[in-house]
């Protein structure tokens, strides 16, 4: 997979993770769950934690497109020069490294977005008010946040 594929997959994860609670929030807004002020608070909480990251991803995709990589050389190793072999080995190592970083980034993103979704979907099962849960879970989200910046920066900061 190329860097563009990784970026697209991460954007997809974030759009799904943001879209589900966003649609739910809308339903709740018109269902009268929050009222006006608390509805805005909940919307602010959700967007501040997700929308800035999603918009940054879209922005980088648009403004900083990645040049297409050279296609793989179909020749077997025996026909390659030493330099070409080294290039192929480096490319394979780089690809494996990118894959492992992607898995980590996707895993932390999913965990982060699951926590955000849990605030909305688990709240009816508790005796807490939504705002209390949002404050409580923000601590865990803040812990994930810096790690996420580092991992997402790897894919979206590259030229």
């Amino acid at each position: 997979m190329t860097l563009v594929d990784y970026r697209k997959r991460l954007i997809f994860i974030w759009c799904v993770g943001f879209g589900i609670p966003f649609v739910l929030l809308f339903t709740q807004f018109f269902g009268g769950k929050y009222g006006f002020e608390k509805g805005l608070e909940a919307l602010g909480w959700l967007t501040s934690l997700t929308l800035s990251t999603i918009l940054l991803m879209f922005g980088v995709m648009v403004s900083n497109p990645v040049a297409p990589e050279d296609p793989d050389d179909p020749r077997p190793d025996a026909e390659l020069t030493e330099e070409e072999k080294k290039k192929r080995r480096d490319k394979a190592a780089k690809s494996a490294h990118e894959k492992s970083v992607f898995q980590l980034a996707a895993g932390v993103s999913i965990l982060y977005l699951l926590i955000i979704n849990a605030v909305f979907f688990l709240e009816p099962l508790t005796s807490d008010r939504p705002q209390e849960m949002m404050r409580y879970y923000k601590v865990f989200l803040a812990a994930c946040d810096s790690l996420l910046s580092l991992l997402l920066g790897y894919f979206f900061g590259k030229k």
């Binding site: 759009c15 269902g31 009222g35 006006f36 999603i54 909305f120 009816p124």
Partner: protein
């Protein structure tokens, strides 16, 4: 990119809808009644006329605090300062706090109330009716004002919109919201958690100024104040202790009447704390759409048992 634009459009829609609701709320606030320095409505409070031979209203409480001499009736005394002081102490005050749900219980319904019946006996009949309706000895308490007026106030309980009491988790200890049980999840998820609370206050009074309309004036009680009434009141009329106090020995007269006041509160995800249903703003009134606020409907189960 389409997703991005759709999201932005949705946010704008939500803000517009919210602004419309906010505007509706602010217009309803401008129609609110003016209030005076004490926070009461500027509607005049009925003047408390002193009774002859009154011994002053002494109110003990269940927590064992010293009785508080709350008033020495004088010809010029009004009810307001006493009521305000009682409110500050968290006691059930006279005149009682405002409620729009009021009904009168006739002497016939109170069963065998005659010219020889003392207020102590009337209080026992009321207590008997309450106990038959499912209120234990610790689920109601007494407050009295003068020798011609007392109140039996029940503990705060959770109720269904039709006025029937909860079978489980009936009694309220704090303002926490319920967690979803089976079949409630979707409703709680979309519409939020909502619970109604109720406190009954049965007022026995001989005062001519106590009318249905008089209970609909003044300020509504705070949730926590009403929650604590049951603890602040006394277990027996007159404070117990073996001695017959003036309020107990008064004989029921034709002037005496019994009013049932129903204090209803609502707690919802959109509220910071439970609120009296009589204090909800225009934007919040939707929260009581399914609630039967009629005092007769709320009191039905108790009322049938008062004459038992």
């Amino acid at each position: 990119m389409k997703i991005l634009w759709l999201s932005l459009a949705a946010i704008c829609l939500a803000l517009l809808a919210g602004c419309a609701e906010q505007a509706a709320n602010s217009s309803s606030n401008t129609n609110a009644k003016p209030v005076n320095r004490n926070g009461n409505s500027s509607v005049p409070t009925p003047v408390q006329t002193p009774t002859t031979g009154s011994s002053g209203n002494v109110q003990a409480n269940k927590s064992g605090n010293q009785p508080t001499n709350t008033a020495q009736p004088t010809p010029s005394a009004t009810a307001t300062p006493v009521a305000e002081r009682k409110k500050e102490e968290g006691l059930f005050s006279f005149p009682p706090p405002k409620t729009m749900s009021v009904t009168e219980i006739s002497a016939a319904e109170l069963a065998a109330v005659t010219g020889q019946t003392t207020l102590a006996q009337v209080s026992e009949k009321l207590a008997g009716g309450l106990e038959r309706a499912g209120y234990g000895k610790n689920d109601y308490s007494y407050f009295w004002n003068e020798r011609d007026e007392f109140a039996v106030v029940t503990a705060m309980e959770r109720v269904n919109p039709d006025g029937s009491a909860f079978q489980t988790n009936r009694w309220v200890e704090d303002d926490s919201l319920p967690s979803a049980g089976s079949g409630q999840y979707l409703s709680y998820l979309v519409s939020g958690k909502k619970v109604y609370y109720r406190v009954f206050a049965f007022i026995i009074t001989a005062r001519s100024e106590r009318t249905r309309r008089s209970f609909q004036r003044g300020s509504v009680p705070e949730f926590n104040t009403a929650l604590n009434w049951e603890n602040k009141g006394d277990e027996d009329l007159g404070g117990g202790g073996g001695e017959v106090t003036p309020v107990e020995s008064v004989v029921w007269s034709e002037k005496h009447r019994c009013f049932a006041l129903v204090y209803l509160f609502v707690n919802h995800t959109s509220l910071d704390a439970p609120k009296s249903v009589d204090a909800l703003g225009k934007g919040e009134i939707r929260l009581t759409g399914d609630l039967n606020k009629d005092a007769d409907a709320q009191i039905k189960s108790v009322r049938e048992k008062l004459g038992g």
